[in-house]
């Protein structure tokens, strides 16, 4: 048993941390969010080229560096720590891995562009009435002469506003909750018939509502086998889930550090508030949440390729949702009023950690998935 990172992974972590410390300095990040596009495309480019981290977890034959989920974990913790708003989970963890997994001409042609940062993939797996269930697909793709015609609505599509391509599920057979009959389509963002509504999320990411109004697609828009995409989609979502667990862990650790610093320097009643036992116990509880979050992230990362994957992923996400909430609320309470303002990073970490709770399944969704296993 060995939980040590490799030399390469340590270098990856350090160089990314140095870069993000600068690129996501507090004032720079605030200015970015106030800008018209809500992001700085140069950062994504730098991650692809100078730092070369986009392909870290992908196999070499797919144009990656031959790493795996542990590399993704290392990167995601840094993104979480820096409060970065980059589309790494949608574009790479889901997008690039989907292309590598499905293969075929369309996918193989696009993958190098994704890893070089030229193309950005935004996955649309969730729908307004489907909540966290990727099988709840009402979007329909009809086979028409020469290809497909797609209609439906995808909800809160991460990276939607900056994407070159959408990767969406659509029903080619069956009805709303059926596991069978779901297919995966790759669609250029400029295709006619797409109505998109862009927005920032409260924690600083970009997302969009996507409405497809009889969008015409060629035959080669279909990725993988017709009607049999759900297993792959669930696998991609599980990978993404563990990635946001790592992001949460990085953010939680940083928020804990900031809260400890604050408690040490904030004086009331003539001494630092860290002298008070009620504050000390709270900071200790927060530390335990960070450590458990880190353990669960690591556990799920190492078990991502096991047959029992769903159990480990759901345990990790459910646990981290709880840990993140407890830690976030404790951090704000310890900061007092200043923690609720936009002036201090603490509040922004709180927002990020809070929003991660509902990404790729909330507490109830993951507990239900665990409970379903009990009853078979």
């Amino acid at each position: 048993m060995n939980f040590d990172f490799s030399e390469t992974q340590l270098m990856l972590r350090d160089s990314l941390r140095r870069y993000l410390d600068d690129a996501y300095g507090f004032e720079k990040r605030q200015a970015m969010l106030r800008s018209a596009s809500g992001r700085d495309p140069a950062i994504w480019k730098a991650l692809a080229t100078e730092l070369g981290v986009l392909g870290a977890a992908l196999p070499e034959d797919a144009g990656g560096l031959g790493g795996g989920p542990v590399d993704t974990m290392v990167l995601m913790e840094e993104f979480g720590r820096a409060l970065a708003n980059e589309p790494f989970v949608p574009a790479i963890v889901i997008g690039a891995q989907a292309l590598a997994a499905t293969g075929g001409d369309t996918a193989s042609a696009l993958l190098p562009d994704v890893l070089s940062g030229k193309a950005i993939i935004a996955p649309g797996f969730y729908e307004p009435r489907g909540r966290h269930n990727p099988a709840a697909v009402e979007t329909v793709a009809k086979a028409v002469d020469g290809g497909w015609q797609l209609s439906g609505h995808k909800a809160v599509v991460d990276a939607g506003p900056c994407a070159s391509h959408y990767l969406v599920t659509a029903r080619t057979a069956g009805s709303t909750f059926d596991r069978e009959g779901i297919s995966l389509f790759l669609i250029e963002s400029g295709a006619s018939g797409i109505v998109r509504r862009d927005y920032l999320t409260v924690d600083g990411y970009l997302a969009a509502e996507l409405v497809f109004e009889s969008v015409k697609l060629g035959k080669n828009a279909l990725l993988g086998a017709e009607g049999a995409a759900l297993d792959l989609v669930e696998k991609l979502i599980d990978h993404a889930t563990v990635a946001v667990c790592a992001e949460a862990t990085g953010a939680m650790q940083r928020l804990h550090e900031q809260t400890l610093d604050y408690a040490r320097q904030r004086k009331q009643f003539g001494r630092p508030i860290s002298d008070f036992q009620v504050i000390q116990h709270r900071l200790v509880d927060m530390l335990m949440e960070v450590e458990q979050a880190r353990s669960m992230t690591l556990m799920a990362t190492l078990r991502l390729d096991e047959p029992d994957r769903a159990r480990w992923v759901s345990e990790a996400k459910a646990k981290i949702n709880r840990a993140g909430r407890a830690l976030g609320q404790a951090a704000i309470q310890t900061h007092g009023g200043i923690g609720i303002t936009e002036e201090l990073a603490a509040g922004h970490y709180f927002k990020r950690i809070s929003m991660i709770e509902s990404r790729y399944g909330d507490l109830d969704w993951h507990c239900q998935r665990l409970e379903d296993r009990l009853t078979g």
């Binding site: 009435r129 997302a207 704000i332 007092g336 009023g337 609720i340 936009e342 929003m355 509902s358």
Partner: protein
């Protein structure tokens, strides 16, 4: 001992309900539902309707313009306001400085300030906390130096709610730096238009401009604007904080919030062909919240009943504050959970009057900002840690 309303009380309840239905400006709630910030005139429009009816200050003695209601009538009134989800009556004048003025003020001060608090002609704000004096309020450093018949005030206040609209502020200032911290403080009323008063916004996590910093640079304040004796400000402050805490329980508002939450849970799809309320865990969290609210309500009623016998709000109001704010926060958590991923879109960034199709269910728009914003409740009005200290000291004697 009984819980029934008398016939007169039932009639009163009907009267209040009908009055609200006929007179509440509906435009205010439309703005709130859209997530628009309320304007000064939104708050004041309802205040003025109630003032005209003589109902704006339920807790005030009749001598000063209160309606002379019993504790039960006041309870019914606040229940009815919450039931109709009216905008809150701003507490700074009615609940905070008003009682301080009629308890400690001179006849001239009462005549000058109380009528304009009731009418809404003066908007008040509270200058208590400072960057270095939060939980340790008595360590405040804003200085007032006597020069003839004026004080010259210098310092900085923070977390001053809605000071951007305020005509007047009540401030705790240090008048004797040599005395023990609590014994060198005075309570001053400051005209916010005085030269040297600067109000700077603080933006909070949902993007709201609700609180401010207030800078005081050589502000000249007439001595006649001091309430109570010099260096007796802490007496006023403690009195005011105890008053503030009782209202802070927010039982009626939380009831309204739970009713709204039930509607949401019964309507929102769970992604499996049912609604959120089908989930046992969701139902469990809801009923647990309701039972905690019932416990709070009856604790508050017991407090009100003993207050009606002439005992002012004492340290038990700290208990109401702690439990009340915890319930308010849990309610926002459940709404956030119900919103799911649709809590994420940041609505404040959207162009106003957009006619594009809506994003997610309407209730979800405010779910995250409200969750963030309500973290303040366990911090303000004396943090819940401080309230526990008060209970330990005053009730348990430890």
């Amino acid at each position: 001992m009984n819980l029934d309303f008398s016939e007169q009380e039932q009639a009163f309840q009907q009267e209040v309900r009908q009055f609200i239905a006929a007179n509440y400006p509906a435009a205010i709630n439309a703005r709130r539902e859209r997530g628009d910030d309320l304007r000064k005139e939104d708050y004041l429009s309802w205040h003025k309707v109630l003032a005209a009816r003589g109902w704006v200050a339920p807790g005030w003695p009749t001598d000063y313009g209160g309606p002379g209601w019993t504790a039960t009538q006041r309870y019914i009134f606040s229940e009815e306001l919450a039931r109709a989800d009216t905008v809150t009556i701003l507490p700074f004048g009615i609940q905070m400085v008003g009682p301080v003025i009629y308890t400690f003020g001179t006849p001239e001060q009462k005549a000058r300030f109380l009528p304009r608090i009731l009418s809404g002609d003066d908007w008040w704000c509270q200058g208590y906390s400072e960057p270095g004096a939060g939980s340790d309020l008595a360590s405040l450093r804003t200085r007032a130096v006597r020069e003839g018949d004026h004080y010259i005030v210098n310092g900085q206040k923070t977390w001053t709610t809605l000071a951007q609209f305020a005509d007047w502020g009540f401030f705790l200032v240090r008048t004797d730096p040599q005395a023990k911290p609590q014994e060198g403080i005075s309570f001053l009323l400051i005209d916010m238009k005085s030269p040297g008063v600067t109000v700077k916004p603080i933006i909070t996590l949902g993007g709201e401009h609700e609180v401010n910093e207030v800078f005081l640079d050589d502000v000249k304040v007439p001595v006649e604007n001091r309430i109570h004796d010099e260096n007796k400000g802490w007496t006023c402050a403690k009195f005011l904080l105890a008053h503030e805490r009782t209202g802070i329980a927010g039982v009626a508002r939380s009831k309204r919030g739970i009713a709204r939450l039930k509607q949401i849970l019964a309507a929102e799809p769970d992604g499996r062909g049912g609604v959120l309320l089908d989930n046992l865990q969701v139902r469990r969290r809801l009923v647990e919240l309701e039972m905690d609210l019932t416990a709070l309500e009856f604790t508050e009623l017991r407090t009100l009943a003993s207050a009606a016998k002439g005992k002012g709000p004492g340290p038990e109001s700290s208990l109401l504050k702690i439990k009340g704010t915890e319930i308010q926060q849990r309610l926002t958590e459940l709404v956030l959970e119900a919103a799911g991923r649709y809590a994420a879109p940041y609505f404040r960034a959207f162009p106003a009057g957009s006619n594009q199709y809506p994003i997610g269910p309407a209730f979800a728009h405010q779910a995250a900002p409200t969750y963030f914003n309500m973290r303040k409740t366990t911090i303000y009005g004396g943090s819940n840690e401080i309230q526990r200290n008060i209970i330990a000291k005053m009730i348990l004697g430890i």
